[in-house]
């Protein structure tokens, strides 16, 4: 299940989940930024928890729930609190790291709804950004924590 809808495809055994999402599921927001599981641009939620989809085989995700940034907004386009916060705080510039950064942030707040700034920074250690210097990304996550993720529109439930 990807963003709440079943996606089925016959794939090579070695197909990485990130490429399954980008090709078979047609969801290109999730990006590939490195080849050593370092940058986090490929971060999605697997059964509600953040994972780096470049280091998960599509086969390993068979039968499970994947959420990408395209699945966060509500059916009528209502932005998820994290998306709202990233916009309000200018937490993105070129946007390439953003889908992974947003998903990592959603997972972070689910596990720690009221993080300190230090906990936010530590929680995003696996996500690189070259444009923002992280300052506004941290503000965005703290702002979203303030608002509360609640039962956000469009999120797949574990």
């Amino acid at each position: 299940m990807v963003n709440g809808a079943p996606v089925a495809a016959e794939v090579e055994d070695r197909l990485l989940l990130v490429h399954f999402l980008r090709e078979a599921a047609g969801l290109t927001a999730t990006n590939v930024g490195c080849d050593t599981t370092s940058c986090g641009a490929c971060t999605v939620l697997l059964d509600g928890e953040s994972v780096k989809s470049c280091t998960v085989l599509a086969a390993q995700a068979d039968g499970r729930q994947v959420t990408t940034v395209e699945g966060l907004a509500g059916p009528d386009g209502e932005l998820h609190p994290m998306q709202r916060a990233f916009r309000a705080e200018h937490g993105l510039q070129c946007g390439f790291c953003t889908p992974g950064m947003v998903m990592a942030s959603v997972s972070l707040l689910r596990e720690n709804p009221h993080p300190t700034e230090a906990e936010v920074r530590a929680g995003l250690e696996g996500n690189l950004c070259r444009c923002t210097g992280y300052h506004n990304i941290v503000r965005a996550v703290l702002a979203a924590a303030e608002e509360g993720l609640g039962s956000a529109p469009g999120e797949s439930v574990r």
Binding site: T28, D35, V69, R87, L92, C94, G95, C129, C131
Partner: protein, 751 residues
């Protein structure tokens, strides 16, 4: 109230946050249906003759459409015949690890890597030259037909007597290390040859320049080439125009008669995208014990890498900005650019100016340490006075406006410098392992220094909507929002009815693009001027429609309504006026060329803690003034400053592209190349200062690179300051834990 200068969130973001940007590898368009995938074969050896390429096994690999080498590229113009000319695909010689030797074309992406491994290239190794002094000595000449590895020189050594009359002279040699620009989106391209036209989609900062470069490279008229920059995931100077691998992809589409696409891996990006910086500096600084600096000379050795690219012009920029913010009786510089068996050097965020600032800011601190003066005080005593502008430097740069002393005082005040020094003294007295360091940088930099102009076309159509066509090419800077603000401010048309088009040479045939922090001052001014011209046209049309005189007409920018002053019955909407103007609506084209570049300036203060037992430095505060003139949108300006500070701090503390003596890269993945993360940075403290320029009517200078330029020397100086009381005068960048520990140990040893 004008929208200019107010905080406006970006119009770009809803799409980026909900659907993601459409970067080159995301394109799913009919023109690229059935596109084959390209995978490069790169040289694994730094210097060798190619004695044979066997493609047989690769051709038999599943899904392979073609394997192409230099031998197949006889359908394009030959190179310029210079001895140091750089080929597209290497023909008989490879000169750096990562140089492109062949391409494998496959039906699917995964097949490409399998097939590329099967291309068998015979290399006859040649000696590699990596060390600067070896390269300069020329024992091994890297190109036949040359008598030196030095490709360009400039400037002069200090004349005899330049430092006479200085009570104190300090000299030191240190690196400004090689960096990887590392945009999060690497290089990517897709191309199609159809109906006599070559279309290239590429991750570029300059679609128009890329079109011209591609047309020349493959021997086509510019009119037969279209370049489209989709969303671009960062550039930082490394994606200016286009690079050879992208041209090869475009050529392959024409050669094969089939659309193709390519996206590089991070490893390929670290090895094959231009590197930045890579200078070695010898500073000589002299002055008197009262703190007056009299003379400064900067000698630069620029690593060119394997071919002459950026190294031909970057040190010239370093020379231009060598004297920084200081008023010096003598300032001179000289450079030599020298070839080595490594990745060529190109522009990277600051492009020659961070190097100048880093050198002189380190030199000033070394001089201050020698005479026992506080680094803030020595800067106070030597910066150019505010009354001296426009100020001509010894290198001939004319600084437009600036107040360096005010920037310095603002940062000292904002950071609580006095209290920080007291805390530092307390910690030193206690002698505990974690010590405090304070580092300063006062800087000036040159923006829009390329001397080119920028284009804008503004169209109001019969629905009252606006389309702006700009030669600027944003890749994260938020120009869509900024330029829309300029239009809405003048015309009163709401931002959600303003579309900004960029990066497509069919829609914007003329333009220069985005680099060198030029876009707001050049592209923005062009948009502003075109908007005013459209407004003037509208006034004329509206006046005729109402049969009133133009002087009685006014535009209410809050509502976008034209009417005779005080007579609402004459109200006209933009839609009505534009419809009346003709089928094309109202339109104006401007090419704006400024008379001179502009010179943003500022001061950074970095506060670090250094664990003197392990050598690890942590940046705990970073306070800045970055004055780039009038601020159009503080949200965007702050974002640029934040990003710049992070990259600057990264150079001081962590990042370095390294090669071993044989030219093998040692930092070829993100596990080894230490890109800075959120955990290593604090939140930044940005202070506001706006000293407008008179060079353009908006009063704006460029902000994109300033943060980087100020941050590197501030953080670097802070780490050294933290252990200065232990006898340390200098630590080379990056000030890694091992380097700091080694410096402390050495100082202890010679105590």
């Amino acid at each position: 109230m004008s929208i200019l200068g107010t905080r406006v969130v970006r119009t770009e973001d809803p799409r980026l946050l909900t659907q993601g940007g459409v970067y080159t590898d995301d394109l799913r368009i009919p023109e690229l249906d059935g596109a084959a995938r390209i995978t490069f074969v790169h040289s694994p050896i730094a210097h060798a003759r190619i004695t044979g390429i066997d493609t047989g096994a690769a051709l038999a690999s599943p899904g392979v459409v073609a394997v192409l080498t230099a031998a197949d590229m006889d359908d394009i113009p030959a190179g310029d015949g210079r001895p140091t000319a750089e080929p597209l695909l290497a023909a008989d010689r490879v000169r750096y690890v990562g140089e492109a030797v062949a391409i494998v074309v496959t039906e699917q992406g995964y097949q490409g890597e399998d097939a590329a491994e099967l291309v068998s290239v015979d290399y006859d190794p040649l000696p590699a030259v990596v060390d600067f002094d070896d390269a300069l000595a020329g024992g091994t000449l890297l190109f036949d037909g040359t008598d030196s590895n030095v490709i360009r020189t400039g400037g002069e050594p200090a004349p005899p007597g330049a430092f006479d009359g200085c009570e104190v002279v300090v000299q030191r040699t240190f690196p400004n290390q090689r960096l990887a620009p590392l945009p999060l989106e690497g290089r990517a391209a897709a191309a199609r040859w159809a109906d006599g036209r070559l279309t290239l989609w590429a991750s570029t900062q300059n679609a128009q320049l890329a079109r011209d470069a591609l047309a020349a490279a493959v021997g086509l008229d510019a009119a037969a080439v279209r370049v489209v920059a989709p969303d671009v995931g960062g550039g930082f100077g490394a994606k200016i125009a286009t690079d050879r691998d992208t041209i090869i992809v475009a050529w392959a589409a024409k050669h094969l008669g089939r659309p193709v696409r390519w996206v590089e891996t991070r490893n390929e990006n670290l090895l094959g995208m231009v590197h930045g910086r890579a200078q070695r500096h010898t500073i000589t600084i002299g002055g008197n014990r009262d703190g007056r600096i009299l003379a400064y000379h900067l000698d630069i050795v620029q690593d060119a890498g394997a071919y002459p690219r950026g190294a031909t012009f970057l040190p010239g920029l370093t020379q231009l900005m060598a004297s920084g913010v200081y008023d010096l009786a003598y300032c001179g510089s000289a450079f030599r650019s020298v070839l080595t068996s490594t990745m060529p050097i190109g522009a990277y965020r600051g492009a020659g100016r961070p190097e100048a600032t880093a050198a002189i800011e380190r030199a000033v601190d070394l001089f201050a340490a020698e005479i026992g003066m506080d680094p803030a005080e020595i800067r106070r005593r030597n910066v150019v006075a505010p009354e001296a502008f426009p100020y001509t430097t010894p290198s001939g740069a004319v600084y437009d406006t600036g107040d360096y002393a005010a920037a310095l005082e603002a940062v000292l005040d904002g950071a609580g410098y006095k209290e920080l020094r007291e805390e530092q003294a307390r910690r030193r007295a206690r002698g505990g392992p974690v010590q405090l360091g304070l580092g300063l940088a006062t800087y000036v930099e040159i923006t829009a220094g390329d001397g080119g102009g920028e284009t804008a076309r503004v169209v109001v159509d019969a629905t009252g909507a606006v389309t702006v066509y700009t030669g600027s090419s944003p890749h994260g800077q938020g120009h869509q929002t900024a330029f829309a603000m300029l239009v809405t401010d003048q015309l009163g048309i709401p931002m959600d009815k303003i579309t900004v088009i960029h990066g497509d040479t069919d829609q914007v045939p003329t333009g220069i693009g985005t680099f060198g922090s030029r876009s707001l001052q050049l592209g923005g001014t062009a948009v502003h001027q075109a908007t005013i011209q459209v407004k003037d046209q509208a006034r004329e049309v509206a006046a005729a429609m109402i049969e009133a005189s133009e002087t009685d007409l006014e535009l209410d920018t809050a509502t976008g309504i034209w009417q005779v002053r005080g007579d609402p019955d004459t109200a006209l909407s933009w839609a009505e006026v534009a419809a009346q103007a003709g089928p094309a609506g109202l339109a104006a084209d401007v090419e704006f060329r400024a008379d001179s570049p502009t010179f943003p300036f500022g001061a950074h203060l970095a506060v670090v803690e250094v664990d003197t037992q392990t050598g690890k430095a942590t940046l705990i505060r970073h306070v800045t003034v970055d004055d780039a003139g009038t601020v159009l949108n503080p949200v965007l300006a702050e974002g640029q400053r934040h990003g710049g500070i992070a990259q600057g701090a990264a150079q001081a503390l962590l990042e370095e592209m390294r090669y071993d003596p044989e030219g093998n890269p040692l930092t070829s993945t993100l596990a080894d190349y230490a890109a800075i993360t959120a955990t290593e940075l604090p939140s930044f403290e940005l202070l506001a200062m706006e000293t407008p320029t008179s060079v353009n009517e908006l009063g704006v200078k460029g902000i994109g690179e300033a943060g980087t330029i100020g941050a590197t020397p501030a953080v670097h100086n802070a780490v050294i300051d933290a252990v200065a009381h232990l006898g340390v005068r200098h630590i080379d960048m990056p000030a890694t834990p091992q380097r700091v520990w080694a410096a402390i140990s050495e100082a202890k040893g010679s105590a």
